[in-house]
Symmetry: C3
Subunit: 340 residues, 3 copies
């Protein structure tokens, strides 16, 4: 594709030779002739001044000066690079049509343009909007209601009665609405608390492979607009997750926790039940959250601490044996009794 054509499709300003041929997008490390890269930070800007690099680059205007290759000027180079990837390598999408092996309840309602794969199951009373893609073996339990542009990969599941907005994607094996975890001791054993609420996924939510979002005991577990879960994340019953919050793999949120908007949790973070986490909270990988956390906090460690404290004390842990020796030496030499 000629760079000028790409500029037109992206609606970006072209600087330099629009006739250059671009064959594929590439990460900066793989910059090479024929490739288009993006530069979004000063750290990587110098690469643009080298010869023999990429055929073209998408850059913020501030890094454009002195570049050796033609440029597309963008207010958000990474976002436009994402669009370039989609233009050169459109993600796999099966053709519309309903596989004859799919099992669809007679009263289920499916919008136009659906692509329903082999052995997919759509239960009684289900409603699904336009252009749904159910890959093979997806299962929709009865009475789920799902919006437009739904994508469910292989073995993804929506349990009975759950409600899903528009443009929601479930990756392979994701489970929406399995029973919450609740038992009460009685008669020398454990009695299960029926889990009869639902899960609500608002528009643009994406759920990673093998992640589980449990239904509420009563009421609803809610993931607001644009929440993104990586693979193998777990969300307990009755949680509420604010819009555009992102959780990396293996994050676990215990029951009834409430997480704010635009948070980002690293991998394997845990959050205690009934915790209240503010907006734009960043939690580093493996941290353990509980109680209340204020808007904008950056936390780390278990139990969690403000990142600036965590960095200081965790950096001193390895010197704790030394500190014991130093205190012992002071006690020995200054004649102070040891106060154990």
């Amino acid at each position: 594709m000629k760079l000028s054509e790409l500029a037109t499709r992206l609606g970006l300003e072209l600087r330099g030779d629009g006739g250059v041929e671009v064959f594929a997008p590439a990460p900066i490390e793989a910059a090479a002739p024929g490739m288009i890269i993006f530069v979004a930070s000063a750290k990587y800007a110098p690469i643009l001044k080298r010869s023999g690099g990429a055929a073209a680059a998408i850059v913020a205007a501030e890094f454009a000066a002195g570049a050796k290759c033609p440029l597309l000027i963008s207010p958000n180079p990474y976002a436009d690079f994402a669009r370039v990837i989609g233009i050169f390598f459109p993600p796999y999408r099966p053709a519309p049509g309903i596989d004859p092996t799919a099992k669809i309840a007679p009263d289920a309602k499916l919008g136009e343009g659906a692509s329903i794969g082999a052995f997919a199951v759509i239960g009684a009373g289900v409603t699904i909007g336009a252009r749904a893609v159910l890959h093979p073996h997806a299962v929709i339990y009865p009475n789920a209601r799902i919006g437009d542009d739904f994508i469910a990969h292989s073995h993804a599941v929506v349990r009975e009665g759950c409600m899903i907005g528009d443009r929601v994607t479930l990756l392979d094996g994701a489970v929406i609405g399995a029973d919450g975890f609740g038992y009460v001791e009685a008669n020398g054993g454990l009695v299960k608390i029926p889990q009869v609420g639902i899960v609500v996924l608002e528009d643009e939510v994406e759920i990673g492979a093998k992640s589980t979002v449990d239904r509420a005991t009563l009421g609803a577990t809610i993931l607001h607009r644009g929440v993104k879960l990586d693979d193998q994340v777990h969300i307990g019953h009755n949680c509420e997750i604010g819009e555009y919050t992102r959780f990396a793999a293996h994050v676990g949120i215990a029951g009834s926790a409430k997480i704010g908007k635009w948070c980002q949790f690293g991998g394997q973070v845990g959050c205690a039940d009934h915790a209240k986490i503010g907006d734009r909270v960043m939690a580093s990988a493996q941290s353990g959250l509980h109680g209340n956390i204020a808007d904008g906090a950056i936390v780390a460690g278990t139990p969690h601490a403000d990142m600036k404290y965590y960095r200081r004390y965790a950096a001193l842990w390895w010197r704790i044996p030394e500190l014991f020796r130093r205190v012992r030496a002071i006690e020995n030499r200054s004649g102070v009794d040891r106060a154990e």
Copy 2:
């Protein structure tokens, strides 16, 4: 439903107006006219004295005095509330019958009243008791033996030869009896140790969505009566888990560990291989267990410590930099050599 009818169905003593209409159970936070709530602790008892609250409440006798609404007196209000949820909102259960798309081996034995969903697979030599519910896409490998009142949700799997008691539930995508993880170095590579034991799940076990219970190398991995696993829990080969023990999401138990009865592990707890954990041990979220732990212990942290120690030292971590400064100041001013 009239409260008097509910009292009869639950077998509980009614105090006050039995003619009041109850429309649904609700958590205390959602107490409102028409709702029935439960009060099991002194903390929430005052709500009963407010006007305009719930239509009725299930309470322990000790909190009954002064209530503004009619009551059902219960020795275990939470357990009876669980029964009320099940009465008002019976969990989804498909009708009996065998879907024509299910694939059942000719020699498999199925008890009466089974409900077998679309594309379910039951292998050769399998025995399943009465009233089984296999939701769509459940797979039972050959020669598994399963008791009465079995429920397997979508994509749940029981591998070859495993043995399952009565009233066992597998949530969506749970895997019982995948290979344990064992390899030995040989000839410059790794040789797999065949995993040819089984898994035994005793009566009343419940396994969460996407949880994995590995088969034994030789012998059996055993979950005793009433064990409850949340979603995404992993149990390694040859483990033994005592009756009524509960594990929250993402708990991982390494091979050959032995865990006692009535334990409760928080989310993301890990337990080392060959550990021996006593009865009624409580482990807080993300703790890392190893070695031997005595009956009744309450532990936290990695490596695990008694909760009372953990609370004290973890609360002081953030002051470690201060302690270094204080020791340095003492050294400077008292002329003691620094003993590094």
Copy 3:
């Protein structure tokens, strides 16, 4: 089976009575008449000198002296014991043949001797080598290329275009090639970065139940020859894992991390994105790795530390309150100002 026959099949030297009957392999704890055990370390060698133990044992030559039972002398007793397990208890393998319910694209290529289970799906353009076993409900998306002796257990998935070598096994519900986790903020929301790379699994890789190996954004996520993942492991997009490296359950490796050869990570270990971990690194359970780690390092803790430091300081944590008291006592008695 007579011991002499077993010796012949294994190609091992027999010492003692080859006519003894061996009925089954057993772990040392279960040594009993009729059983064959193995002894690979000095710790367990004394058991061979007791009467009434196993019928026979596989041992290293150095532990052979004084044994009360006949022996098979082996340079690697554990590996030969693994072979014995496979001889006495061959793991379940369905017969060759294609189930009539399987859905195989007309242009898919399947090698000789395949066993394709009920409701398995093989997409357009897929190539699979000889002797493949697809258990029920395995799904191969279009254009995947897979070598010989492939085994996919129930609900295992290979996504579009991924490349898999020979002798690879996927346990139940493993997902190869789901989308990597990448979004960029734009226009007040999040834009998904298309994930259009692939996953490469080289020969002899084994993936545990419910584990997820994400496809690369661009390029490939690579697991080199002989990598073994336990259940519920997650490998992020664009990672590269060196040959024969083993990860225990719940390990999570963030995007673009590079891990060396022959590493062993305990359960629930996390590794930060873009980390560079050397060869033969051992990471103890729950540790959190980041940055660069040298070949042969043994690490523990979050953030990770050299095991020898970690052991020392983690063993002193519980005494931190005592240290505060001792420093306070010194300050009080020596008249030093408290330097907080």
